[in-house]
Symmetry: C2
C-alpha cells in the first residue's frame, strides 16, 4: 500500500467511531424513556439499535486488523462520555434535537475524516455513516412542537447551540490529545486553511439542520 | 381461512410480544451500563439491538393487519413493566442471568403460544424468537464467575428463582385479564391438563438453563 496514512491513525478513527456509536446507543436508549408515547419510544429505540449495527461493523473491522476493539475504543471514552454528560436532555424534545443535530454533527465530522483514509476503511466508514432515515421522525416531531408552542423555538435553539459548542470543544480536546489523528487531518486538508474550511462545512450543515427543525442556528 | 383462531387473539399476542421486545430492549440497554468492561457493555447492547429488530418485524405485521402497534401494545404495558420493576438487577451478574434466563422463559412461552396460531403469524413469531446466539456471552461470563467465587452460585440461584416466580405470576395476570388469549391457550392445549403440560415444558427448559449457568434451579 503506497498511501501515506499511518495505519495507527486508521485504528484511532475506527476506535473513536466504534465508541461513539456505542455511547450514542446508550444515550438514545436512555432518552427513549422520555417519550410521551409508545410510538415515540419505539422510534428512538430503532435509532439506538441502528447505532449498534454500525458499532458491530467497526469492531469487526478492528478485529480483522488484529486490534482488540476495547483497546482501540478506550482512549476515546473520557471525551465522548464528557460530551454526553454535559448535554443530557431534560425533556423529550431536547432528546429529539440531540438525536438529530448531535448525530448529524458527528456524522459530518467522521465523514470528513474518512475521506482521508485508504480503502477499504474509507468505504466502511462512509457506509456506516449513511443516513438510515430514522431522523425523519425527529424532524417531524420537533417541527410540530415548534409550531404548536411559541416558547419552544427559543429554548430549543439555545439547546442546539449548546450541543454544537460542546461537540466542538470535545472534538478539539480529542484531536489535541491524539497526534496521529491531528496529523491525519492536517495532511488530509492540506493546511490550516483546509482545517478552517472543514469546520466551515460542518457548521454550515449544522445550520441547515437547525433550520430544518424550525430553529435558529 | 378455516382456522378457529380469533384474529383478535393474534393481535393480542403480536401486541404483547412487540411490547415485550421493546421493554426488553430498554432494560438490556440499562443493564449494559453495569458492565465492568467495554466488551461486556457492547455484548449486552447487541442483545438489546436484536430485540428491536424483532420488535420492528412484529409492529410491521400489526400495521399490515391494519392495527396501530401502539394500540395493540398498550394493554400489556402494566404487566411487563411490573415484571421489570420487580426484577431490576443490582449487579452485572444479575443482569446477565436475567438477560439469559428471563429471555429464555419469555421465548419459550411465546413459542408455545405461537404454535396455536395460523400462518403467516406462526412463522413470523417463530422466526422472531429464533435464538440469535447472543446468549453465549452471558453463559460464559456467569459460568466463569460461578467458578471463581463460592458465594456467587447461592446468590444467583436465588435470583433465578425470583425471576421465574415473577415471570409466572405476571403471565398469569396477563392471561386472566385477556379472555381471548386465555381461550387461545385452552383451545390450543386441548384442556387444563394440556395447560399443565405446557407449564411443565417451560419450567423444565428453565431448569436446563439454570444448570447451564452452573446454578441450582
Amino acid at each position: 500500500m503506497t498511501t501515506p496514512v499511518d495505519s495507527s491513525a486508521v485504528v484511532d478513527l475506527l476506535g473513536a467511531l466504534a465508541y461513539a456509536e456505542l455511547t450514542a446507543f446508550d444515550r438514545l436508549a436512555e432518552d427513549a424513556r422520555l417519550a410521551p408515547t409508545l410510538t415515540g419510544r419505539a422510534a428512538l429505540a430503532r435509532m439506538a439499535a441502528a447505532e449498534i449495527t454500525h458499532h458491530v461493523q467497526l469492531t469487526d473491522r478492528l478485529a480483522e486488523l488484529g486490534v482488540d476493539p476495547a483497546v482501540a475504543m478506550t482512549p476515546f471514552v473520557p471525551a465522548l462520555d464528557a460530551f454526553h454528560e454535559s448535554t443530557r436532555p431534560s425533556t423529550w424534545l431536547e432528546g429529539l434535537v440531540k438525536a438529530y443535530v448531535g448525530d448529524g454533527l458527528a456524522t459530518d465530522f467522521y465523514r470528513e475524516i474518512a475521506a482521508f483514509l485508504p480503502d477499504p476503511d474509507r468505504a466502511l466508514v462512509l457506509d456506516v455513516l449513511a443516513d438510515t432515515g430514522h431522523a425523519d421522525f425527529a424532524v417531524r416531531e420537533v417541527r410540530a412542537a415548534v409550531k404548536a408552542d411559541r416558547k419552544v423555538p427559543g429554548r430549543l435553539s439555545l439547546w442546539g447551540r449548546r450541543l454544537v459548542g460542546e461537540a466542538m470543544s470535545q472534538s478539539q480536546a480529542v484531536i489535541a490529545e491524539h497526534d496521529r489523528l491531528a496529523e491525519l487531518i492536517i495532511a488530509g486538508t492540506g493546511d490550516i486553511r483546509g482545517v478552517a474550511l472543514l469546520i466551515e462545512r460542518i457548521t454550515s450543515a449544522h445550520t441547515k439542520r437547525m433550520k430544518a427543525l424550525g430553529l435558529n442556528p
